[in-house]
Symmetry: C2
Subunit: 337 residues, 2 copies
DNA sequence: TTATTTTACGCAATCGATTGCGCAAAGCGA
DNA sequence: TCGCTTTGCGCAATCGATTGCGTAAAATAA
């Protein structure tokens, strides 16, 4: 039923040359004459040949495949990063196998294992919330397969590369905006502070408080999942407070908007009574009333840099691991004064 | 420097058995004794063996890889679908190579070609805006590699499977909501109506108009890219109209919100003067004031169904192509009366 | 014309895992 | 103990492409 696959052997036979010549001719190898190359490519076309990437990868032990592990795919920010990654990867002749860890260490391990067996040329990881150690990436190190963390990286020191933003400074500056406008009772609503990104934003937050001679208490640190429902719950809790806080640092836009929305419908004025800041600059952050003060987090660029860097590592254009920090941009809008 | 890969041959040698036995022992083949299996797996572990998926795929010509082509990754809806796909795929022992067509036919072709060469076991496609014909998927058909369209499918008849929603009915019902509340001058702001999804929503829109004895004119059909800026532009144009429309059908939430926002800041009351409906039920659609009437578009479920179906096709559990239509849910909120 | 360099191509081993078929040893009943 | 069925495992071909090395033919130089 199924016609057999056309291979370079079939082409070789048809043209009365050796498979070696066909293999070379197909990729315009200099030691094959122009004429022969042309002939080979034509007949390949005619015979419906398709190169077998598997066989090629097996032989050369290069798959031109990058593995990507993310906590989840369905997040605005993450899909932006992935878009950037895919674009750069394709431009450089690679492609992506994307997997989700669902924020669990166990899944992350499984993904790593699978991608390891699949002979990816490099691995791009944004760690799960549970990722305390990184032993499961040791096999990659042992085989000199580059691993690069993006956005969420483990704490230093670690023997891998990374592309992140300076979350400490972003947290600091965002907090400073609210403080400069007179806020004195700040709340910090964030994700799992076991994660470096959140931890660093928190440190920046603390540094700003200190600068303004305000004390920090863990009572003002709320760890949530930063979803819409978490925001609504947080807002409800805020309404119970006496006195109300006068500034809220929220570690992403979705949750920030949810909080604002719920507070507003309980007649709290934003920013009049409470200033609120977000993080990410999601597309809708500017469409809200008030418009959200936030940090533009360069998703596309981060994806591109991550891929470019890891491919440089793969191709040995750079020899040593590299920790990059991308520029972010403070978006100062009307949800803070 | 680099230690050599451990293969089943090495294990075979270490255990004084044949590679065949090792291969079978590794996967608990019934014709190998429990004892031997155990021994093999232990030494494999000890020697740091990793199976070579490439070699295996080459031999068996099954890669357990699904190719996915989407117009772009960084869309809320698409990333949701992909999340569902990845989840189901992994559960069923497959994984995903994801590529973007950037809405161009040319890129879509290139992706298809690459995935074809990479021996994917199946292909999941959401077509680009330019995709008029589908000849570039013919090679898959010729090799009996299942192709399944999700969300955006080409016009029937075509020899492939699909998972979509009933866009006609969704468009119809959404329109009907506004009409029942008395709207008589409706605008339809949508994407490229060359795409079946938009075309069908428009047909539904027309059907509803007809039912209410309202005439349809192409003047009331605006094709845009449905982004934030497109919304702002559209809103500006709307403000010039005399009389104003009293209902706007917008084919996605992002654009709808942008329009509402711009109209509101020009003192138009929503839904008082103009009703507006969206499409997708993005997470923030309920956080806006007014909350957006929209259609819940089952992203995760669509991804899951698509993968489950294509794997059934791959494994020949179902023999014929299958066109599935998923349930959507009308979310009737306050942006319509 | 002869010697030398270039050009163009072929040989054959190799990358690891899989599997149909065959065969020997072990287990069984009588 | 003999013959028959199971059980457990090995042989060797195969999946396609790649590549270092060698060589014949063609081109160039002398």
């Amino acid at each position: 039923m199924q016609k057999k696959e056309v291979t370079i052997y079939d082409i070789a036979q048809a043209l009365q040359v050796s498979p070696a010549t066909v293999s070379r001719g197909l990729k315009n190898h200099p030691s094959i004459s122009k004429k022969t190359c042309q002939k080979i490519q034509e007949t390949a076309q005619k015979m419906g040949y398709r190169s077998n990437a598997l066989a090629s990868s097996l032989r050369t032990s290069r798959s031109f495949t990058l593995g990507v592990i993310v906590p989840r795919l369905d997040s605005n920010f993450m899909s932006t990063v992935l878009a950037g990654m895919e674009k750069s990867a394709v431009e450089l002749g690679y492609h992506l196998i994307i997997m989700q860890s669902f924020e669990t260490l166990e899944k992350e391990k499984e993904c790593a294992q699978l991608l390891f067996n699949h002979r990816v040329d490099g691995l791009l990881v944004s760690t799960s919330a549970e990722t305390g150690h990184i032993e499961h990436f040791a096999p990659f190190l042992a085989k000199s397969i580059p691993v690069l963390f993006f956005d969420r990286a483990p704490l230093d020191p670690h023997p891998f590369s990374s592309v992140t933003i300076d979350n400490h400074r972003a947290g600091y500056e965002l907090t400073r905006i609210m403080l400069q406008k007179g806020a004195t009772r700040l709340l910090h609503i964030t994700g799992n502070t076991g994660l470096r990104v959140y931890k660093e934003r928190l440190e920046g937050f603390k540094a700003a408080l200190k600068e303004f001679n305000l004390s920090y208490s863990t009572d003002n640190l709320w760890q949530t999942n930063l979803g819409v429902e978490d925001g609504i719950r947080a807002a409800a809790k805020i309404l119970q407070m006496h006195p109300l806080p006068d500034g809220i640092f929220v570690a992403n836009d979705t949750c920030a908007i949810a909080i604002i929305n719920h507070l507003q419908s309980n007649n709290i004025l934003i920013p009049g009574q409470i200033q609120v800041s977000g993080f990410n600059n999601d597309p809708f952050a500017s469409l809200f009333t008030p418009q959200l003060t936030t940090v533009e987090y360069p998703g596309i660029a981060m994806g591109e840099r991550a891929v470019e860097t890891i491919i440089d590592l793969i191709q040995n254009k750079i020899k040593t691991t590299k920790k990059e920090s991308l520029d972010f941009k403070l978006i100062n809008r009307s949800s803070t004064r």
